[in-house]
Amino acid sequence: MVDAARQPRIDVRTYTEVDKVEGFVGNFKVTLREKAKHVLADRCNGCGDCAKVCPIEVPNYFEINLAPRKAAYVPMSQSVPLIYNIDLDACIHCYKCVEACGPLEAIDFSQEDQLVRENIGAIVVATGFGHFDPSVMAEYGYGRFPNVITSMEMERLNNSAGPTSGNLIRPSDRKNPLKLAFINCVGSRDKRYIPSCSNFCCMYSIKNAVLLKQMNPAMDITIYYMDIRTPSKGYEEFYDRAREMGIHFIHGRPSLITEDETTHNLFIHSEDISLGRVIENEYDMIMLNQAAIPQPDQNHMSSVLNVAQSPGGWYMEYHPKLRPMDSPTDGIFFAGACQGPKDIPSSVAQGSAAAARASRILHSTRWEIEPTIAVVWPERCSAETRGRACGLCVKACPYGAVVIEGDKAAEIITAKCHGCGGCVAECPEDAITQLHYTDAQILAQMRALLADKPEEKILAFRCHWCSYGGADLAGTSHFEYTANERGIKVMCSARMDSDFIYEAYRLGAGGVLYSGCHPQDCHYITGQLIGAKRADRLKKIFDRMGMTDGRFRVEWISAAEGDKYARVLNEMQTVLDNMPPEALKEEIEKLQPDMEKRLKRFPGVPGVPEAMAYGDTLVRAIKEQKEPA
């Protein structure tokens, strides 16, 4: 930290909050709130004379309230930069500190919060995690029994820079405990509180046990666990070492802690699963390894930074396997536990990766994106035609790239657009198009594929990342499937416009497959959800129209599911085979007027009439070739 502060090109701002983040990758405009310390940074030399004379003591948050601090304070003695801070909530304005500061005149009670606007190229979020409060679990008696403490309190009591200089004492009588128990999974892996695993508690409870055992080999230490999870390099060996040192491990989640009211010793009731027997053991002190939870202000920061949250409240990464340090917003990166609970090696690895990703942006003058971006025709937007933008495009965008300001037409921030095409398909006015995947281009493909005997064809819409890969795999694996399949690739199932499906049936297609990634696997975060919602709607419409079940299929197929792709198409072919040709033809003709009605506005899209005319010539040419005049 000191190194970082001394490095001339690193600017450390402490006691500062991020108020607002605007702009996009390479061009963020960040508003910082530099909170008033009431001490002038350029004059304070960190001597601490103000703290010495300050008469006010309040609990020290850094020491988990186990020690006091003054109203004039630094959070911890190693603080960087070493600048004191006057806590006005506690201060009684006796001005003894001003006197003690003397000629330095570093204390300024008139100081106020300052808003600073900075141009920022890339942002790395490393806000860490919070702690589950075990006092809500009445069965463990935290907060009621003095000798039940949390792991963070243990960290301070066990730390040579902590309030007891590393001398572990128990709160009730300040004696050194000899018989200790650690309880793992307090609040975590518990559907009533935090359903997920906190990742690092097994290791730190073993670490604390080993440290204490090294300090005093006579200490009797027991770890209560449900499962010991030691999945990284060297971890299992460390666990073995702890067992060899004589630390006891009891497989069983305690159900109750009771206290002897005179000695303040504690009794743990648990099952020893290996024995299959309920046991009750007495301890001097108990440490609860509480669950890691997102920071209390994580929801607020998520809206400030415009990054989504995963279930559980952690920041959501771009891709869980391939881009775990990127946020869905370009130019914002994650380091450490703010993205999910992780231990020190993983946090360091992710931090270094995030720094490297950020420097890639800072060192380039150009930012390359996929060319398949969305573009608005402002004159077609409902803001222009009806005076008010409908905002469906804003809702559809997983990246916050679509902006509507006042009564102006929707606008797309190109640098933020990833090209899923969700907004294009959702726009009821057809006012947005996607480069390289325009309505006209896709229509032209459909016309060509359905030119000859459309009622025999199955038109398969596939997304670029999953189901197209699945189709590819079916081919390279030589899985046999119907030769009547005709594929059209779009970037995401979100782009599969209902107009395309109606048009396919209007042109007389026998079947249509609507396929994309599995939910949660979508390359565009929530693109699949937008596509799935639309597909459900279409399915209901076609059912109501009386379309034979199986002619419209919605399937989520991953790139590894070539067999599924082949199976689904073969099933669709069977549906068509089971229909007498006249019945199929009759059904297609019966539904055609309905489809046409639903496509009323489609020919108004720029480029579509030309594509249609081209399609007509194509169909004519094919027919002429077949039946030479």
Partner: protein, 318 residues
């Protein structure tokens, strides 16, 4: 014989019964086993975690013969504590239901009805937390009579019905009125200062029972009852009549009754008894009802000491 694999597993049978659905979420943490007092107080083989495992592993007969199937009294303390939110008692009830269907019977000794005494009033059916007693019609001496009968597989033996029956027509070995009355001292046998009626489940730690037993017998006498629901106000008055100076009834905290709502029945009865004492011009503090929670280790000592000193004060005042 065909050897086709059966598609209906035991687990799917149990899951089909409402309450059994979440059984497969169990990751065997053992919280339910230690939260429950049955293993410690009744049968070391009792283990809900293992019963759930038997269901998952298709060990049907083992599950039907397991004491867990029959001893669970549905107090639901484990449901509150389960980190996977499995309604364990409902799973066990589902297994029990299947076991009864398969012809297995409960090993517990159920209460029985003395048909000569029963008047068919139906109070037992109303107070039972398990719907074990029910009324049926029987021809006696040419007349149709209403009588109570007990489903042996449903009765958990709490004795609430025994305490409620106005004619002492229902009973079980160990908790009949005559057996409890035999434990209450007579004026001739030098009555102690205090007599305590202790619910078998309320004192969680063995130490607590030891505390109680450490008082000299001329000060404190102990009468064990299966549940405070079993308490009969008459017994308290009988004790006072025989020269005992105080009666302490000790049960579980609200919501922690081993027999669902026996302590609620006790609360009602003791409240009535309190107002009765007032009408008889007896000091209210002579009879007290305390409810001890699972975490109240050592509280019994305070309660007994407090009661003894209160009785001393009453004596001084007289």
């Amino acid at each position: 014989m065909s050897h086709l694999p059966t598609t209906i597993t035991f687990a799917s049978e149990v899951k089909a019964i409402p309450g059994g659905e979440h059984l497969e979420l169990c990751y065997s943490c053992g919280t339910c086993v230690s939260k429950c007092l049955i293993q410690q107080k009744v049968d070391p083989a009792y283990n809900p975690r293992r019963l759930l495992r038997m269901v998952m592993m298709d060990l049907k007969t083992d599950a039907y013969l397991d004491p867990t199937t029959w001893l669970c009294s549905e107090c639901d303390l484990c449901y509150e504590a389960c980190p996977q939110e499995i309604h364990i008692s409902q799973v066990i009830t589902a297994v029990k239901h299947l076991a009864v269907e398969a012809g297995f019977t409960s090993p517990l000794i159920a209460v029985s009805v003395d048909e000569d005494l029963c008047s068919g009033c139906g109070i037992c059916a109303m107070v039972c937390p398990y719907e074990a007693p029910s009324l049926f019609e029987k021809e006696v001496n040419g007349e149709v009579d209403r009588l109570s009968q007990v489903d042996q597989n449903k009765c958990m033996g709490c004795g609430t019905c025994v305490g409620a029956c106005p004619l002492s027509a229902i009973g079980r070995e160990g908790v009949t009125n005559t057996e409890i009355e035999a434990q209450i001292p007579t004026p001739e046998s030098k009555p102690p200062t205090l007599i305590t009626f202790i619910c078998d489940w309320s004192l969680r730690a063995e130490d607590d029972l030891k505390i109680l037993e450490s008082y000299p017998p001329d000060q404190v006498n102990i009468v064990h009852i299966p549940c405070t629901g079993r308490i009969d106000p008459q017994h308290a008055l009988m004790a006072l009549d025989s020269g005992v100076r105080g009666v302490l009834v000790c049960g579980c905290k609200p919501g922690e009754c081993h027999y669902k709502r026996g302590n609620y029945a006790a609360t009602c009865k003791m409240g009535l008894l309190d107002s009765l004492l007032g009408q008889m011009n007896l000091p209210e503090k002579q009879i007290q009802f305390v409810q001890i929670g699972t975490q109240d280790r050592g509280r019994i000592r305070h309660e007994v000491d407090g009661m003894l000193s209160a009785l001393f004060d009453i004596k001084e005042a007289v």
